[in-house]
């Protein structure tokens, strides 16, 4: 064999080996693009965990056909029902959520069946939510396949719902008005409670804001921490941890985070509530049902949201205030609901509470901010 042939052969063989190696043991960047776990290159799922891994990868790649086909119990529901379970029936946070990652925890295994816990971390425009499923995995025809615990959304029968809600409209002085530059006095709002606390990741300001006026207000709260030398350490806003639309006499809790700052550095706090007159309506009405505080361990507030109106709420944000026995505010936390709120169809929520504060909590109050498509302008 001459040198040229040997070189050509070496290049060819090395290239094939390098590609094979890069495919069997892909670099992290390639793994991420392949769905977060190495795809099955050698055939059927050989372990229960591998079967769940493969299913998670297919869901992450939004390969619904393949994910549905791999299920052991697919005869029990259609692919559309499987898809609606994962991405919601109506427009909701689930609809455009992307699977950021998943964790698989084997619980129990026998020769032909296994129980596996799967935590799916979905990324949405408003943050991440976790969907936990306990999966039954069975061995059929020599390979493992997942029995998907389908969650089917309830649907109420067609009916007419009469609504009788308050509504405030604002007549602007002209089409050229810049939004927010109004010729009317801003609604009167007041911070009725404000409580800075030191947490591991920085200072957190908890509080409550009251709309004292007889007109609705669009509100937000800004705060600035002033250091001992008089300089401003940081200024932040309540962002989404507040219900921005307040009807007359309504109260909203708020939270402002100052990451990386210790309360000992702070000499004073400047609070700056902002309010603007806006059109608003009391609809949709969302009722909190079966609200229960579950003490430590795993302290949380659980309950159900029930949409009493006739229109679907696409996204709901639950914000809860927690008080001690003296009625002092000790914590504010929130959770986005990943499924749409259909009329008269309860949807559960669970808001975790820090363990160190859980023992102080005596009572709680919850407000619901809602977003429905097409209602914003």
């Amino acid at each position: 064999m001459n040198k040229g042939t040997l070189l050509a052969l070496s290049i060819t063989v090395l290239t094939i080996l390098l590609i094979a190696s890069g495919t069997i043991w892909p670099v992290p960047a390639a793994v991420a693009f392949a769905g977060g776990a190495k795809k099955d290159m050698i055939g059927a799922s050989s372990t229960p965990q591998r079967a769940v891994d493969d299913l998670g990868t297919e869901i992450r790649l939004r390969d619904w056909n393949k994910a549905y086909s791999s299920l052991a119990n697919k005869a029990e529901f259609t692919q559309d029902q499987f898809l609606h379970d994962l991405s919601g029936h109506s427009l909701s946070l689930r609809t455009y959520a992307t699977l950021d990652g998943f964790e698989v925890q084997p619980l129990h295994q026998s020769a032909d069946a296994a129980e596996v816990n799967m935590k799916l971390r979905w990324s949405t425009v408003v943050g991440t939510f976790v969907d936990t499923r306990d999966l039954h995995v069975v061995k059929t025809s020599g390979h493992w396949a997942v029995e998907w615990p389908i969650v089917q959304e309830q649907h109420v029968p067609p009916q007419v719902i009469a609504v009788n809600y308050l509504r405030w409209d604002v007549i602007s002085s002209g089409s050229g008005d810049d939004w927010g530059a109004q010729d009317v006095e801003s609604p009167h709002v007041r911070i009725v409670d404000m409580h800075p606390v030191n947490r591991a990741d920085g200072v957190v300001i908890l509080g409550e804001l009251l709309n004292e006026d007889i007109i609705p207000a669009y509100v937000s709260v800004r705060a600035a921490l002033v250091g001992k030398n008089g300089a401003t350490l940081d200024s932040e806003g309540s962002f989404d941890m507040i219900d921005h639309t307040l009807l007359p006499k309504q109260v909203t809790p708020f939270v402002i985070n100052f990451p990386g700052i210790d309360l000992t550095q702070v000499a004073s706090i400047r609070m700056d509530p902002v309010s603007v007159l806006v059109s608003a309506s009391a609809d949709p009405v969302v009722e909190v049902q079966n609200q229960t505080y579950n003490p430590a361990p795993n302290a949380s507030l659980t309950g159900q949201l029930s949409n009493q109106s006739g229109q679907t709420v696409n996204v709901a944000h639950v914000i809860s205030s927690f008080y001690d026995k003296n009625g002092q505010l000790v914590w504010v936390a929130g959770q986005y609901i990943d499924r749409a709120l259909h009329p008269q169809t309860p949807v559960p929520f669970r808001i975790p509470v820090p363990e160190d504060l859980a023992k102080n909590i005596n009572s709680e109050r919850t407000v619901i901010a809602t977003y429905s498509t097409g209602s914003s302008l």
Partner: protein, 585 residues
């Protein structure tokens, strides 16, 4: 009848390039690509502020010294006559024509004039070139590569014969290439220049008719040109280096599909392998066989092979091992581009041999396959458009420019590369932008998302970045969010923005936030000094003018050895008929 050894006249090849690419340029097809608007945006700044690279329109203020300026400055210059869009097209077309000449000259180092002319013709139909021009919009890469290819024959002459004219030409062209795209020079040194150095050594041993080049002379010449070019680049791009030293790129790596494994993610493989390589895929086995059999071509083959492996992104571990952390920062379509350029001299030789042997039976299939590959790459921006929807941002710009709206900053969501187009048209400033290496705002660099306007495509990192910047709206005077994609509506609603207007048949919604103070100048510490602006506006473009001038200094020595031509051809290459457009009789 004896096989023809006539090269295709370079004039004809240039005419073919014009015939194929000029209509597409007149149609402004590159405007549909990922980065074309980005380059035009940079150029638009140079139009108004030639000596002030500080641009307030993106990232609440950033320095354009973070990106080599030469091609954009040419666009800015020509825009006085042609307007920005057509000026871009003119510069891009010039780069395509320059590649034809560069490839011919580079290929002549390795193969004969006929094979080199086929290599040059192949650049006209090269899938990777069309992919970068029409889909990726990488003006800088496609300008720098031909400059580099044109420099290499002079580099060879300098190393081989110590020709000072060649030294001057090589040095000026190499600096001009760096002024267009520094990465091309950096990686080109490994993939392109090292094979040329090996060729000098090879020729020195094998070519009995030319004086041998001693190792010491070679080392001295190599070091001398490296030092001179290195110093010249250091001075020419000094503001870039100062910025890099003061503000090193420490941002969280941004995912890029070219780092995928093309077998595990075949849809990405189509984009980054099938389309750029196109017809060349069929030639790859022959490139390896022919390149390995001819000893003189082996350095070129090895350069191609290494570049090919790196260009495969995450399909092999080669890129990750060789580049380390840079693997997470670089994108790999340009490596594939360089790999195809390195393969072309061998491809030219294969085509030449095939046509000599099979005549029309070879010409027809080769032409058909090459044209198909080229057509696929050109059409790719339509088949697989960078932006889901093509829309006009003029009304959005008009809205921002009226009633004092431009006192505040804005971000767009769902605008894709129209972000750059909007920035060209509006007076308002944004906290977003498309130049990832230019951004300094912590909200943009911390999470691993690219432009905010496309944040949903970067999943959690992108959305975390968006939430962080919206959370600090007051800090940046960020009052307006221009939304083309209702996906983002829930976030804006819950975060305290409200819709204030709708444009273009309600396809674009403008959201506003109350109580936001007007924008104030920011990032002043990062602003380059006035002398840096002067340097930036003078030297990079100056070297391109100098390159045009020195190229007309006449040559005295022949270059390289061609294994498919006779000694007579070799001796006659001083007056190259292919270059002059004449046909050898």
């Amino acid at each position: 009848m004896a096989p023809s050894s006539k090269p295709i006249p370079l004039t004809y090849i240039l005419l073919a390039a014009v015939a194929i690419h000029l209509p597409l340029m007149l149609m402004q097809l590159p405007l549909k690509s990922y980065d074309t608007n980005f380059h035009i945006f940079f150029a638009s700044h140079y139009v108004h502020h030639w000596f002030d690279p500080w641009n307030t329109k993106w990232f609440a203020g950033f320095s354009q010294t973070t990106y080599p300026p030469m091609p954009q400055q040419w666009v800015a210059l020509l825009s006085w006559i042609l307007g920005l869009n057509m000026a871009y097209m003119a510069v891009q077309l010039a780069a395509i024509l320059l590649l034809v000449v560069g490839m011919y000259r580079f290929a002549r180092l390795w193969v004969g004039p006929r094979a080199a002319s086929f290599a040059a013709l192949a650049t006209v139909l090269l899938g990777s070139e069309s992919f970068l021009v029409y889909s990726a919009g990488q003006l800088s890469t496609t300008v720098a590569a031909p400059l580099y290819l044109n420099a290499l024959p002079f580099f060879f002459d300098w190393l081989r014969y110590g020709n000072w004219r060649s030294f001057l030409k090589a040095a000026v062209l190499l600096v001009a290439a760096a002024a267009a795209h520094h990465a091309t020079l950096l990686f080109g040194s490994a993939f392109f220049a090292l094979p040329v150095v090996a060729l000098v050594l090879f020729d020195s041993k094998e070519d009995a008719e030319s004086p041998a080049t001693s190792t010491s002379a070679l080392v001295i010449r190599l070091v001398s040109i490296a030092v001179v070019v290195g110093l010249a680049i250091a001075v020419t791009l000094l503001p870039y280096w100062i910025g890099l030293i003061r503000y090193p790129i420490t941002q969280t790596p941004i995912p890029h599909a070219s780092r995928a494994n093309y077998l595990l993610s075949p849809e990405i493989g189509i984009n980054y392998f099938i389309v750029p390589y196109g017809a060349l895929i069929l030639a790859l086995p022959f490139v390896v066989i022919r390149g390995a059999r001819i000893p003189r071509l082996r350095p070129l083959l090895l350069g191609f092979w290494l570049c090919f492996l790196v260009g495969l992104g995450g399909t092999t571990q080669v890129g990750s091992i060789l580049l380390g952390r840079a693997f997470e920062v670089l994108t790999f379509e340009r490596f594939s581009y360089w790999a195809t350029l390195l393969a072309l001299p061998i491809v030219g030789l294969i085509i030449s041999e095939a046509i000599n042997r099979f005549r029309l039976k070879a010409v027809i299939p080769i032409a058909l396959v090459a044209a198909s590959g080229c057509a696929l790459a050109m059409a790719w921006s339509t088949i697989h458009p960078p932006d889901a929807a093509n829309f006009d941002v003029t009304n959005v710009a008009l809205w921002l420019n009226r009633d004092g709206h431009d006192k505040y900053r804005y971000v767009t969501l769902g605008f894709g590369s129209k972000l750059s187009r909007l920035a060209i048209l509006t007076d308002a400033d944004s906290v977003d932008g498309e130049s990832n290496s230019s951004r300094m705002l912590p909200e943009l660099t911390k999470y691993g998302g690219a432009a905010l306007t496309s944040s949903k495509y970067f999943a959690k990192p992108g959305l975390d970045s968006l939430r962080a910047i919206l959370n600090h709206a007051d800090r940046y005077g960020l009052k307006w969010v221009l939304v083309k994609d209702s996906y983002y509506d829930p976030l804006l609603y819950f975060a305290g923005w409200r819709p204030v207007d709708q444009l273009d048949d309600k396809t674009i919604t403008i959201w506003g936030k109350d109580g936001v103070p007007p924008a104030v100048p920011m990032n002043a510490a990062q602003k380059p000094a006035a002398w840096q602006g002067l340097l930036w506006g003078t030297l990079p473009i100056g070297f391109s003018f100098l390159a045009i001038l020195v190229i007309f200094i006449p040559e005295r020595r022949p270059r390289g050895f061609r294994d498919d031509v006779t000694r007579e051809d070799y001796a006659g290459s001083f007056n190259d008929p292919a270059v002059s457009g004449e046909v050898i009789s």
